[in-house]
Amino acid sequence: MGKFEDRLLDTLLRERGQALTAEASPAETPSPAGRRHWGRWVAAAGTVAAVAAGVVVVQTVPFGDQPPVASAAAEVLTTAADRLGASDPVVKPGEYLYIEDHRWDMVTSDDGHQVLTYLQENVIQTWVPYDRSREWLQRSYNTGRRQWIQGCEADLPTPENTDVEELRAKCGDFHPEGGMKPCERKGNWQQPTPEFVAALPSDPQKLYDELRSAMADEGPGPDAAILDFVQDAISRGLMPAGLRANLYRALALLPALKVSDRNVNLDGRTGVGLGVETGDRKQEVIIDPATGQYIGEREATTRGFGAVKPGTVTSYTALSTGVATGLGEQPAR
């Protein structure tokens, strides 16, 4: 450290060192982390009506006081793996796989005087051609819909941009690495190529071992990181059913994964929540037990802070897929 840092440390310890041993009440000295305000889980089926009526239906996720059943998670995943594939949309030559992702993410802004907290909806639509080397289309936009936790619309300094961002690229390479042309990219978990998929182990245990060693140094816990990574892989709806099934079977080997909620409702579709708790968070992947399909994910704070109760959801997504007959066209519902 330099002279400036040494003197600052001395001054801090001399002038404020007593704060280190006197555990102040949260009301007097809110920790910066405690000033974060997390979004609330709004039952998705009731979201539109509830928001339109100005009523926020708050729901929390169960945790802690319910004994988790580890083997149940493996059972759900194994059954889902067996069922997966039968309900995959069948894309014919000339058609497009359509993926629609609705995300509700918590946004907090703090200008020093006022904290605004809300969940904000973003939609990402992707059209994937039957021949994946052809042009893909991705549209994303902020819907402008918010679920207010703290503050109200009038408090927003400027309206947020709700323009539709449109990207087109062969092979889905919307953001090619520097100097690389579309279709030259090597595959990865988030953007799998047929070559990448073919090179992955077909044995679930080996797949799990590979994930485990890759995630050993990640974040607050490797279990949460593995779940995060698998979600990345399956949430875009691009992996073939066989690999998704194997990823489910690999997830079944994750010791920390528990059935956390048997009745999760995401945009009207219900599924089973399989979650990992790490620190103050719980991450869940939501699977439709009838079809085995991944339908979304959600994340919650398990401790809460300030006025935010434990179990409050901080973000959730709902994914749906279909078949479109043309680029940019909506599939028949």
């Binding site: 840092e5 003197r7 001054t11 801090l12 704060a19 910066p32 982390a33 607050p220 994340e299």
Partner: protein, 184 residues
């Protein structure tokens, strides 16, 4: 009952040692964060001091399960800078001075000038990405310039890791597009 994981040694000397360790590990990076925003050594020093005043005040209640110290400190630094900007725009005093904190002496100022100079590349990069929305710039800076991992950066910005994932993906994409347009 919510369990809280506390630092193992809660004695006065243990807490001082723990804070000192965190301070020594991160103070240069926090200083660099401000050095990318202002070329005035005294302001860099004051904003760094203000960040650590808040850090030492709440260190005893910091919960390591909530994430790393790095993300926590950058979260504080971010808010300190936001308040600084607001005060400057209203013509008020820069920061609330720590008691006993005096202006930099010549050696300290010279030392910080070197640091500020060392952050020139980072400052220029931030200037280049000025076209990005503020949220995108913050993500790019914390992850790609300050070197925070995704979990710490999410903690610093007060967003969930899922939101961080999508924001980073999109911010990098927009950045590549801008760079591509400038080069093309």
């Amino acid at each position: 009952m919510i369990r809280r994981k506390l630092p193992p040694d809660r004695s006065a000397s243990g807490m001082v040692a723990a804070f000192e360790q965190v301070y020594r590990a991160h103070v240069r990076d926090v200083t660099a964060y401000f050095a990318r925003r202002t070329a005035d050594p005294q302001t860099v020093a004051d904003l760094t001091a203000d960040t650590f005043v808040q850090a030492i005040t709440s260190f005893a209640t910091f919960d390591p399960d909530r994430g790393g110290h790095r993300g926590w400190l950058f979260g504080i630094a971010r808010r300190v800078f936001a308040r600084h900007c607001e005060r400057v725009s209203r013509g008020r005093d820069v920061v609330e001075r720590l008691a006993g904190w005096r202006a930099l002496d010549v050696d300290e100022a010279a030392e910080l000038v070197v640091r500020i100079d060392a952050e020139r590349a980072g400052r220029e990069l931030l200037d280049r990405v000025a076209e990005l929305a503020r949220a995108d710039r913050e993500v790019i800076e914390l992850v790609d310039i300050a070197g925070l991992d995704r979990v710490d950066a999410a903690a610093a910005l007060g967003i969930s890791s899922g939101a961080m994932r999508i924001r980073l993906f999109r911010a990098r994409g927009r950045l590549r597009k801008i760079v591509g347009e400038h080069n093309g």
